[in-house]
């Protein structure tokens, strides 16, 4: 028996395989492990879309709010302030003040300003609209990521997919309730608005339609606890959540959870100005279009902090604070695709695919030994090494093992012995022809080589295409098949060749072809 370079490489490959697959197999604390896909460990996969047109709308709305605030601060009289999908228009009553107003409007990025007499119209440019839409998607990704990072699940995945889709993957969700909580947190707009109650008309709110309210520049909002209670508030808010710097859960004097928020300097100033001017009137605290409270303003409120009270549980208040803190979603999101697997189903899938793997493995191993005798045993060594190497490579790269991925491993067991079947058949042929053992082995390998390479490369082509175009769990199949094919070239071709070279002298001496290659007679 002699060592050769092939057997050394093969031995190193086996050591590599066992070494790096150990953390995954034995579930060790340290070391890189294979990640189980959501279909095996249970979890939530979602593709979300963003209603970007809403982001443009709210951009327009906030421009309108700033126009209003500017006019009040500078004592410019304006009238008929209205807005639609992409423009804001209003009349300036004193034409002497037009230049001042225009100067202010010029500061709004990406807009065109037109004026006909005293009527000013500000329109967002098409480029600005596209930019706003793009920003809405980026901002949604950022916001959802921030929220999920604080939610308490390990390694949430939030990523852009394609141009306008958001991929969210949450592993380790245990219950339906937890899943729903996560979904609520993700999709919550968390848009905080402080709005002035229209005291002049408030009494008539129950007799008004939405259209009536719109005529006065008002909107009708309902109470969060009791939808029967309506409030008539000015449509353009005093300020919104963009000026929020912090939000946290606290408790009121009755030990009920509430949310404390702080505004930035600009917000604090606007808030102070407004409350100073509106003593005796009501201020509506509006969150996602629902009025949480509408306290009377008793005095000017400086300092820029406030509270949102409402009847929520501690859990709800906590999630709400997270959502507010992470910023509001500029545009609402909607569900495009969802795949949710419960942990018990994942466990069942692991069990079933393990049974298939072990069953298929045993059948193949027995078959190879019965048919090829010693050559079968050698092929089986290569096969076992192959399995370790697949797992090791996957662990090393942190690849994800999915259910189709498990099927890919099972399939590899059947296909990886192919190389050894081809080689053994070739060697048998040459032995029949009466070639020397050395020549039979060497020629057998070189004759088989071309066919094995061509066959494997075509399978690889299919696998690569599958990886490039596949989604989610299917990608896992492409990964295990590809690694399996590549590993089989190392184990089944190089590795077994090394073993034969090592045993060559012994095989030649024994002359027992039945034992070594299963050749009859």
């Amino acid at each position: 028996m002699k060592l050769n370079y092939r057997i050394v490489i093969f031995a190193l490959a086996i050591i590599f395989g066992i070494g790096f697959s150990a953390p995954s197999l034995l579930q060790l604390e340290d070391g890189k492990k294979v990640t189980l896909g959501l279909d095996l460990q249970g979890g939530l996969h979602m593709l979300l879309g963003v209603k970007t047109e809403e982001a443009v709308k709210s951009r327009i709305k906030s421009i309108a709010a700033s126009v209003k605030h500017f006019a009040e601060r500078e004592d410019v009289l304006i009238d008929n302030l209205i807005f639609d999908e992409s423009s804001v228009s209003f009349e300036v009553l004193d034409s002497d003040e037009l230049p001042k107003v225009k100067e202010f409007l010029a500061e709004v990025e990406g807009s065109d300003i037109a004026n006909i007499g005293e009527l000013l119209t500000l329109t967002l440019t098409p480029e600005e609209v596209v930019k706003t839409e793009k920003e809405a998607i980026s901002q949604a990704i950022e916001t959802i990521r921030n929220r999920l990072d604080q939610f308490g699940l390990a390694e949430p995945v939030v990523a852009r997919q394609g141009e306008e889709k958001i991929l969210v993957q949450l592993a380790g969700i245990k219950t339906q309730e937890e899943e729903q909580r996560a979904r609520e947190l993700i999709s919550r707009a968390a848009k905080l608005e402080l709005m002035a109650v229209d005291e002049e008309r408030a009494a008539r709110v129950y007799n008004m339609s939405d259209a009536d309210a719109a005529e006065y520049g008002d909107v009708i909002l309902s109470d969060v606890k009791n939808p029967e209670i309506k409030y008539l508030v000015r449509e353009i808010p005093i300020l919104d959540g963009g000026m929020l710097t912090d939000a946290s859960m606290g408790f009121d004097q009755n030990n009920r959870p509430l949310i404390n928020f702080k505004l930035n300097a600009e917000g604090a100033e606007i808030f102070g100005d407004f409350t100073g001017r509106s003593v005796g009137k009501r201020l509506a605290v509006v969150l996602d279009g629902k009025v949480y409270s509408a306290p009377n303003i008793n005095e000017r409120i400086g300092g820029g902090s406030g509270q949102i009270s409402g009847s929520y549980t501690v859990m709800e208040a906590k999630d709400l604070a997270i959502a507010l803190r992470s910023g509001s979603l500029l545009a609402p999101i909607y569900l495009m695709e969802k795949r949710s697997v419960g942990p018990s189903l994942g466990a069942d899938s692991i069990k079933a695919s393990m049974v298939a793997l072990i069953g298929g493995f045993i059948l193949v191993i027995i078959f190879m030994v019965v048919y090829y005798r010693a050559a079968g045993v050698i092929a089986n060594i290569a096969l076992i090494a192959n399995l370790f190497i697949i797992l090791a490579v996957m662990s090393l790269f942190g690849a994800t093992l999915t259910l189709p991925g498990m099927a890919g491993i099972v399939l590899t067991v059947g296909m990886a012995v192919d190389a050894n079947v081809i080689i053994s058949e070739r060697i048998r042929e040459l032995v029949y022809e009466g070639k020397s053992m050395h020549k039979a082995i060497e020629d057998g390998y070189s004759n088989a080589m071309r066919a094995i390479l061509d066959a494997n490369i075509t399978t690889l082509i299919a696998a690569v295409v599958l990886y490039a175009y596949g989604t989610g769990a299917i990608k896992g199949f492409a990964i295990t098949i590809s690694i399996g094919i590549l590993a089989s070239m190392l184990t089944a071709i190089l590795g077994t060749h090394g073993i034969y070279q090592m045993l060559e002298a012994r095989i030649a001496k024994s002359k027992n072809n039945r034992f070594w290659f299963g050749i009859k007679g």
């Binding site: 949710s340 695919s353 078959f367 099972v410 192919d418 061509d454 082509i461 989604t471």
Partner: protein
């Protein structure tokens, strides 16, 4: 090759029957490609399918929903065409609410594929099949000869058609996993075909006999043991996957199972005869090889002359 005619007729009948099935019964696209919702529910006891139907009745969302047993009597899947866009309360939540009172159950899986994603996946799926075939065609043409490539593509189309026919026959939902299985069949079937082709190439190159039919016959015979053996080992594992792999990969395993059988058959009985039909001219090939060898010799001679000249 006497049997090859019978085999050809058999193949043509099978392929035509598959197309007839596809045309009449049609492929049953699952939620991945058609869009829709799947809710998998497991009960403590036998699933009360009638009660479930009653509970789901009345809600517009569930119109046309089908409830079928899934693997065992206490587990069912509800399939419906409708989807919802709300992130907070989706159709899965609605189903759970609706089923309340029908027994002790657990919702184990919810798949919602919106229409847009569905059509995107379909597009991508078709694209991946086409690309895989083109990639393989180019490789085989490059490694062998264009006739080999065309013959192997015929074999591939044969295999995929029959697999699709079988899927239609048993009425499986075509989802992403079935597509993956089809792509695997492409790779696998070609694997077999290439082993045979490799032998033919070898035979054509080495033998003096210019009768292609003889070479093909001999090559097929010589690789028959290997083809059978590998098909057997692959069949073993796919069969265990089919039997024990669980309900979720049932369609995947079934498609593979059909593919392994058909793929093996086609590499022996379809690809090689087609090669013959395309009139692969052995003499011409030999001449080409000879010319190539001559060119090489000539090149070498020139090089030697050049090098000696310089020295």
């Amino acid at each position: 090759m006497g049997k090859s005619k019978i085999a050809m007729v058999f193949s043509i009948v099978l392929v035509l029957a598959s197309y007839a099935l596809l045309a009449t019964k049609g492929l049953n696209y699952g939620v991945d490609f058609a869009g829709g919702t799947i809710v998998q529910v497991k009960y403590d006891t036998t699933a009360p399918i009638d009660t479930m139907r009653d509970k789901l009745k009345g809600n517009e969302l569930f119109s046309g929903a089908s409830i079928t047993e899934f693997g065992s009597p206490d587990e069912v899947v509800i399939r419906m065409k409708s989807t919802t866009g709300s992130v907070t309360v989706d159709i899965g939540d609605v189903t759970r609410e609706a089923l309340k009172g029908s027994g002790n159950f657990e919702i184990r899986r919810v798949d919602i594929v919106g229409p847009k994603v569905g059509s995107e996946l379909k597009e991508k799926g078709i694209m991946s099949l086409v690309l895989a075939v083109i990639g393989i065609l180019i490789y085989v043409a490059f490694r062998f000869e264009w006739r080999f490539a065309v013959a192997s593509i015929f074999a591939l189309i044969h295999d995929v058609s029959i697999a699709l026919g079988a899927i239609t026959l048993v009425g499986l939902d075509v989802n992403l996993d079935v597509l993956a299985a089809l792509l695997t069949i492409l790779g696998y079937s070609l694997n077999d075909t290439i082993i045979v082709f490799d032998r033919i190439r070898e035979g054509v190159t080495n033998s003096k006999n210019s009768e292609l039919a003889d070479t093909i016959n001999e090559s097929v015979t010589r690789t028959l043991a290997r083809t059978t053996l590998t098909s057997l080992t692959t069949f073993f594992v796919v069969f265990t996957l089919f039997m024990f792999g669980g309900e979720i990969i049932h369609a995947f395993a079934f498609t593979l199972l059909v593919g392994v059988v058909v793929g093996t058959y086609s590499s022996v009985f379809v690809a090689s005869p087609i090669l013959l039909w395309f009139g692969f001219d052995v003499k011409l090939y030999h001449e080409k090889l000879a010319a190539k060898a001559k060119r090489e010799v000539e090149k070498q001679r020139m090089r030697d002359q050049y090098e000696s000249g310089v020295m």
